[in-house]
Symmetry: C2
């Protein structure tokens, strides 16, 4: 069975791939809104862990709307949730995968796909949606990552990553200012997977 | 890493074992409140799919309280939820597993372990709690079961099973009447796993 997995190159989506791997033929779906070429970091991480990878082009307006929400709110949460939902629906609509997946975790505050949204995506697009980390807490995930993956970690602005945040940061820096980016996105540790152990 | 999995011999808890198997050393924990010896059906199913199995003895009062709830409510939902939570906490308290798991699914109405209860169990007992099916909907689970397991299905009163319902039914039949059991438990299709494919 084939599954198309929303993939950023970070440890969560990579661990999701690792958990699916014994049961599905996993393709890493790397999204881009056409603002930067950072999706190539996700494609490279996918190759590093032996996954085939595919670019999924999202409308630029999705990133623009997410950026507007983040600027209006003063924090990234709702904008990130918006772009994740849009990416999931785009994958369900634009690709041929009848099983799609992401790396959302039980303890994530954002993005989250709750049961009713999961069922809604499945019903509207005729797909199965899997979130293999939904039944795993932080400690179990950290232990599995430690056992299975070689990860590079560091400040979010320095680690090459193919996630939504990278393009939204670039868009806000371009349309507003780099200083506003620093105000809106709290500094946090980001991860980028290099290979399997 | 070892994991102790609450195990009934049905397709959900067996599929949970299958999903955990590539990553953990899984032991099937078969619960009994001492009312019947139906836990042996779960032990047998575990052997059929190559899992080591262990009996976990629960207090008889847990089944008695569950039966009282079910009789008072007129339906099994809250009683089954109660006994599942008690079993999970018993496993966290009485066994040496630092990682425990169950076969609850995303679309289950009962039993369910929501995020706050999961975190509460983890914090109170110093364990990690995994629900590997929490990120899978019905269709994906059916497809994996079809691909991986040989299952015997039939009316719930005829299929040998080591789940909570079996002992609670026996208890209510003994303390009240078999007719009351038929009134309280809607007839449904039950499954019992024979082997892996």
């Amino acid at each position: 069975m084939e599954v198309g997995l929303l993939y950023s190159g970070g440890k969560d989506s990579t661990l999701a791939a690792v958990l699916l791997d014994p049961f599905y033929d996993v393709t890493a779906l790397c999204c881009s809104c056409g603002i930067t070429d950072d999706y190539t970091h996700a494609m490279e991480a996918a190759r590093g862990v032996g996954l085939s990878a595919q670019l999924v082009e999202l409308d630029r307006e999705i990133a623009e709307t997410a950026a507007e929400k983040i600027i209006a709110d003063g924090f990234p949460r709702n904008g990130i949730q918006f772009i994740h939902e849009q990416a999931l629906e785009a994958v369900a609509r634009q690709t041929n995968y009848s099983v799609i997946a992401d790396g959302t975790r039980r303890d994530d505050r954002v993005p989250t796909i709750d049961r009713s949204l999961a069922q809604s995506v499945e019903d509207r697009f005729g797909v199965s949606y899997l979130s293999p980390l939904a039944g795993y807490g932080r400690e179990a995930i950290d232990a599995l990552v430690e056992e299975r993956l070689v990860v590079e970690s560091g400040p979010s602005e320095l680690i090459p990553k193919g996630d939504y945040e990278t393009e939204i940061r670039a868009l806000i820096a371009e349309t507003h200012s780099p200083d506003l980016v620093e105000e809106l996105f709290p500094k946090h540790t980001q991860s980028h997977v290099l290979s399997r152990k």
